[in-house]
Symmetry: C2
Subunit: 299 residues, 2 copies
């Protein structure tokens, strides 16, 4: 595994946002791209904490740096941001590009176990294990021991599940200190998007999919120390179509004994599924993670 190659770099908010490309074993050896925002503190030599952002269906590694409004607050807090792509690309699988909610742009942050997807569609392993290794290869001034994760929609599902799985695992590849999500697919085994994805990617279908379902996972986390923030707009058409199901996640949270303080889920009138919604709550999400990451002991 060689170090990724720099594709582009822009200055922003006294820091830099750099696009890299590299080959990923977890993605069957395909090339993948990701963006890294380094705040001024990192350019000055400090090892800064890392906040990963997972984007939603049809998006890629550029969507959130362009439209999320995250860099401003990350710069102020001195936190690095890492933006991976949403799926492998160019796996040459038949019908890979046919649907917007399956295949390219729709990796769902799982490890596929079903043919013909299992060789390439392993975004779970890529994000949790290989991406941090690629960042280490780049020798960037990052303190990977202080990592958190957030995301939107499919990526909100990804953030919640990767976080909860890291809390539940005895020795996770990455231990995330906090998770937040904008309009996450909070109970994918019970909604059309998750149904299609899990039956398509997983040999065990929805039953196997439960290990990638935030509402299932939080039940197992009873007694753990959780730090979760979720925001959902009730004007969101996908919320209305019951693709997101935050109520199921809230019910599971309550049943597991977590409070609104541990796992805060907020519904907002009028807001929808777009980056106009995300950017509105971006400052609060960055602040939430900053308090955890900057309060954690340094490397």
């Amino acid at each position: 595994m060689s170090a990724p190659e720099q594709v582009a770099q822009n200055y922003s908010f006294d820091g830099t946002i750099t696009k890299y490309k590299g080959t990923a074993a977890a993605l069957g050896g395909l090339e993948t791209q990701f963006n890294v925002f380094l705040p001024k503190q990192a350019l000055d030599g400090d090892k800064v904490p890392v906040l990963y952002y997972l984007a939603g269906l049809t998006c890629n590694e550029d969507t959130a740096p362009w439209k999320g409004g995250f860099l401003r607050d990350a710069a102020a807090e001195g936190i690095a941001l890492v933006f991976p792509d949403t799926s492998p690309r160019g796996a040459s699988i038949e019908d890979e590009d046919k649907d917007w909610d399956f295949g390219t742009g729709a990796g769902f942050y799982i490890n596929a176990t079903k043919e013909p997807w299992k060789k390439h569609y392993n975004m779970y392993d890529f994000v949790t294990a290989e991406l941090p290794q690629l960042l280490e290869k780049l020798s960037l001034p990052l303190d990977l021991s202080r990592s958190s994760i957030f995301g939107h929609s499919m990526g909100g599902h990804g953030a919640l599940t990767l976080y909860l799985k890291s809390v539940l695992a005895s020795s996770p590849s990455t231990k995330y200190l906090s998770a937040s999500a904008f309009a996450p697919i909070a109970n994918p085994t019970q909604c059309p998007w998750g149904d299609k994805a899990f039956k398509g990617y997983l040999e065990g279908g929805l039953e196997e999919g439960k290990e990638y379902d935030a509402t299932e996972l939080i039940k197992q986390a009873k007694g753990k120390d959780l730090k979760v923030l979720v925001d959902v707009g009730t004007g969101d058409n996908f919320y209305k179509q019951k693709q997101l199901l935050p109520e199921n996640f809230i019910a599971a949270r309550d049943a597991a004994g977590f409070t609104e303080k541990d796992v805060s889920v907020n519904l907002h009138d009028n807001y929808d599924h777009s980056y106009y919604f995300i950017s509105t709550f971006a400052p609060a999400h960055i602040k939430f993670h900053a308090q955890v990451l900057k309060g954690a002991s340094k490397l």
Copy 2:
């Protein structure tokens, strides 16, 4: 002229951003789209001041609301934002879509006087006269007597020239109270982009183009009360290629007796031509205009 029709609406930062489409006489009767951000103060019934944003080459009415990071500060200041498109679209002129720096997406905020462009390519009249009329037809809670303008690149050229022309005119269609620009084409009669545009759109070529050249216009504004802010990154490839020429604008400013306080032009190391640069300086630009607009007497 009927009122524009609402195409889409999103909530953002406690306000709304609404896309409208309407037919524009200045654009030869073509349909055009624009976005309007209304802050909460307007939704609550206050008549708020208006800040127009003119985008650059290849962009449209969505580019800046998505990528500029302007809504957050406009919301905090209680200022409306209006985002027109960058040119007419669908005029069915031969080669209209051939080049990225001429024709579609490249209206240059002038009134064309040359065939075959003169019927449709009149973004100057559209932005200064017809767009405010369309806003009035919509009966939005806007105080159009308090209007300012800003923009990027070609749109920075547009903002500076529309402002300076409004300062110089005895009875302008819109009197802009302040102007700001990110990486503007500050002396278009002396750079390749302006050369191509003015020779292409204007019967009188570069000589006629001087009336749309900020460096020419500021010479005529001697003695006027100007409020202008310009930011340019010296890592900008178009700056390096001498498409922007802020130095010429600075020299003309100085020769006309304006100070850095009246017409502030700042060069920034490392920053480039992208929205990563724009969003970095967005808060300062909104603050600059807010001080002028909120200090002006209300309707």
